[in-house]
């Protein structure tokens, strides 16, 4: 068996081993993968970045733990950016298994905000996040379409109290926040069809700036809404999250992920090329034999 034939008939387990080794190596190493920032993502970043301190943004965390790998990085990137900019965040989790995850996210964020950091040359002092002042977690209610519509009247209609049981009226943050008119932008991070409800029942009826964070597979489906202007920006999968992290100069989960993604893709492409080289070289050899 010459080398080309070996290329063609590699045991799949070598591929697995090689892929795993590369993934682990990349996971534990420390390099950054440059990403090209796309317009769809920078639109979201620029909008949030230009908001004055004290403005309220709304983050809808609409995914299950099964989509955590792709979507959690977006939530972290956007919320940290907002908190560092002294914006305030209202968020919901309208997916059944989402609330626990959202709760964990806000705890993690509170931890990382206690530390002083410098992003894009600006120094941000560490501070303590206060529930009800800096953020408000509304929680989960079933029938997302109805919840989204009802929130157009007042957030208190579906959520009289927040996730932790405190009545909304007693939270300082919510004093002046009643419905979508009081928020600067709504970012929907979603792994399912709740996005459609935000577009048609939320944005369509109440007309607020809507940005989407979607799983990679869903992204292509929502480009038409970007073109029609119903959606002001889209972050697609881990790639979108990595772009956002690049812009905020705060490499996190997504950049970690991209560090594995790029070599993993390259490994797969390498094996495809090897198979093809083997195929063509083998064909040449066979032809020689025939002639």
């Amino acid at each position: 068996m010459n080398i080309f034939e070996r290329f063609m008939k590699l045991d799949r387990r070598w591929i697995y081993l090689f892929l795993l080794a590369v993934c682990l190596l990349a996971y534990y190493s420390d390099f950054t993968v440059p990403t090209i920032v796309e317009k769809e993502t920078s639109a979201i970043y620029n909008f949030i970045d230009s908001l004055p301190p004290g403005e309220v943004i709304f983050v809808a965390i609409d995914y299950d733990p099964s989509n955590q790998a792709e979507l959690h990085p977006m939530t972290y990137a956007i919320m940290e950016h907002a908190f560092r900019k002294k914006l305030r965040v209202v968020f919901t989790a309208l997916s059944q298994n989402g609330p626990g995850m959202a709760d964990q996210a806000i705890h993690d964020l509170a931890d990382s905000l206690r530390v002083d950091k410098t992003y894009n040359g600006v120094e941000y002092k560490g501070r303590e996040l206060v529930n009800g002042v800096d953020y408000c977690f509304l929680g989960y209610k079933p029938y997302y379409a109805l919840v989204i519509t009802a929130m157009g009247q007042d957030f208190r209609t579906p959520f009289p109290s927040d996730y932790y049981g405190t009545p909304l009226d007693s939270l300082p943050l919510m004093k002046k926040v009643h419905n979508y008119d009081d928020i600067a932008i709504l970012v929907d991070v979603s792994g399912g069809n709740i996005t459609d409800a935000w577009i048609s029942y939320g944005q369509g009826k109440f007309d607020f700036p809507l940005a989407l964070g979607l799983t990679g597979v869903m992204t292509a489906q929502y480009y038409p809404f970007l073109q029609s202007g119903q959606v002001m920006g889209i972050m697609g999968g881990l790639l979108g999250a990595a772009q956002y992290e690049d812009m905020t100069d705060n490499p996190g989960l997504a950049k970690d992920g991209m560090r594995v993604q790029l070599p993993a893709h390259l490994v797969i492409i390498l094996f495809i090329l090897m198979g093809n080289i083997g195929h063509f070289a083998g064909r040449k050899n066979r032809k020689k034999v025939q002639s």
Binding site: R12, K39, V217, Q227, G229
Partner: protein
């Protein structure tokens, strides 16, 4: 796309300028003095209320002409309040508030009595619309309208295109099926995936190894699964004739029950009822990945000669197909789940793409009745092609040719729920 986006950008600027202009005119007109009285705006006119069409009842649509002070005149209107009452004199209750510029409001409720805002059918209501100003105390009411009552319709007019499509398609199917019954010869082009099924069963017999038939995650209410039952019945019949063994692990209990029936009948038809084993078709579990794990285990332990995947598949498509490669089986797949077709195409020896799955039952049986419906499908496809071609020409050129009425040709096909 980019040019469109750019235009949008300019539109934004335009809106911004327009907003500034409007705002400054309002600011100029409204005295800065806070104690100044807001004059009641002109009331809305032309108020009509009627039952909402093509719905389940319990809904009334209110239409009006906006106040002359809405976006013009004194420009004092900020919105409209829709009021409803059981008698012309009142008292009126608020049923909705809409922003300025609105001309219509749908007052609707669910069909269950006792839910909030329930609107009983066949009950007279009277409506009034108030033009609201920034001062809650200052508004002007329109003339009342009514009585009006809601009622359910027996036909949804938004579904006309669907109705026609279903009727025409049914007629086509019945026509071709009865033509086929009369013994008219129908040509169908060969499908590689179908022809492979017979060879695959033969191969399994030679190797003395079983055949694995997988329905995927479909329930018995998925049409793909129902089509798959027919394919299974053909496969099982041949398996019985060749005296090979068959394994059908199931994800859905009803699918399991039906598949047991199908396989049993097939064995009886083949004249070998004693060869049928009750546990050939068995249930595994209702969880996607546990099911996949178990089927993968079956593949590596029983080493089936042939794996047939027909039905509805999700992420497990590639997991099954790749494990099947390891166990050295010939694999034939067919699914209507678009996202999974690429994986089957890549990993399986033969793949029935989308519609071919539904045609497979007809192909396998070569029964004229079922082949007749293929002909109907082809005619329907031809109709789609012709209509689409005509539609795209009409949309793009009818206006230029002075046939503006044709430009809206595509609206004939719009489905409104």
């Amino acid at each position: 796309m980019f040019s469109v986006l750019k235009m949008k950008k300019y539109l934004g600027v335009f809106y911004l300028i327009a907003l500034v202009v409007i705002y400054s005119t309002i600011a100029a007109q409204v005295p800065v003095d806070a104690t100044a009285v807001v004059h009641p705006p002109a009331p809305v006119t032309g108020l009509t209320a009627s039952d909402t069409d093509s719905d389940h009842g319990h809904s009334i649509t209110v239409n009006w002409k906006p106040s002359t002070d809405d976006g013009g005149g004194a420009n004092s209107v900020i919105g409209y309040r829709i009021m409803r009452s059981n008698s012309p004199e009142g008292p009126f209750d608020t049923v909705g508030i809409v922003p300025l510029g609105s001309k219509t409001f749908e007052n609707s409720s669910s069909i269950e009595a006792g839910t909030t805002g329930f609107i009983p059918d066949d009950t007279n209501f009277y409506f009034r619309v108030d033009a609201l100003t920034a001062d809650p105390a200052v508004f002007s009411s329109s003339e009342g309208t009514g009585p009006v009552h809601s009622y359910g319709q027996w036909f949804n007019k938004g579904l006309y295109p669907v109705l026609w499509a279903v009727i025409i398609f049914t007629v086509l199917t019945v026509m071709f099926v009865s033509a086929a019954k009369k013994g008219k010869e129908l040509y169908v082009r060969p499908l590689a995936g179908i022809e492979a099924v017979d060879d695959a069963i033969g191969r399994a017999t030679e190797m003395g190894r079983p055949i694995l038939y997988v329905f995927g995650l479909g329930t018995a209410s998925d049409i793909a699964t129902i089509a798959s039952f027919t394919i299974l019945s053909r496969v099982a019949k041949r398996v019985a004739e060749y005296q090979t063994s068959l394994i059908v692990p199931c994800y859905d209990p009803i699918v399991m029950a039906v598949a047991q029936d199908v396989v049993k009948t097939a064995y009886m038809d083949a004249g070998r009822p004693n060869d049928y084993k009750e546990d050939a078709v068995h249930f595994i579990t209702n969880a996607q990945f546990a099911y996949v794990g178990a089927v993968n285990g079956i593949m590596l332990r029983e080493l089936p000669a042939t794996n047939i995947y027909m039905g509805k598949f999700f992420a497990e498509s590639l997991m099954l197909a790749e494990t099947g490669v390891v166990s050295g089986s010939i694999q034939i797949a067919g699914t209507d789940e678009i996202a999974q077709i690429p994986f089957f195409v890549v990993a399986c020896d033969y793949t029935l793409i989308g519609e071919e799955l539904f045609a497979a039952s007809a192909y396998l049986g070569r029964e004229p009745l079922l082949l007749g419906s293929l002909k109907a499908q082809d005619y329907a496809k031809a109709a789609v092609l012709v209509l689409a071609l005509f539609g795209i020409l009409a949309v793009n050129f009818a206006g230029d040719l002075g046939m503006a009425w044709l430009a809206n040709f595509k609206e004939l096909f719009k489905v409104i729920d």
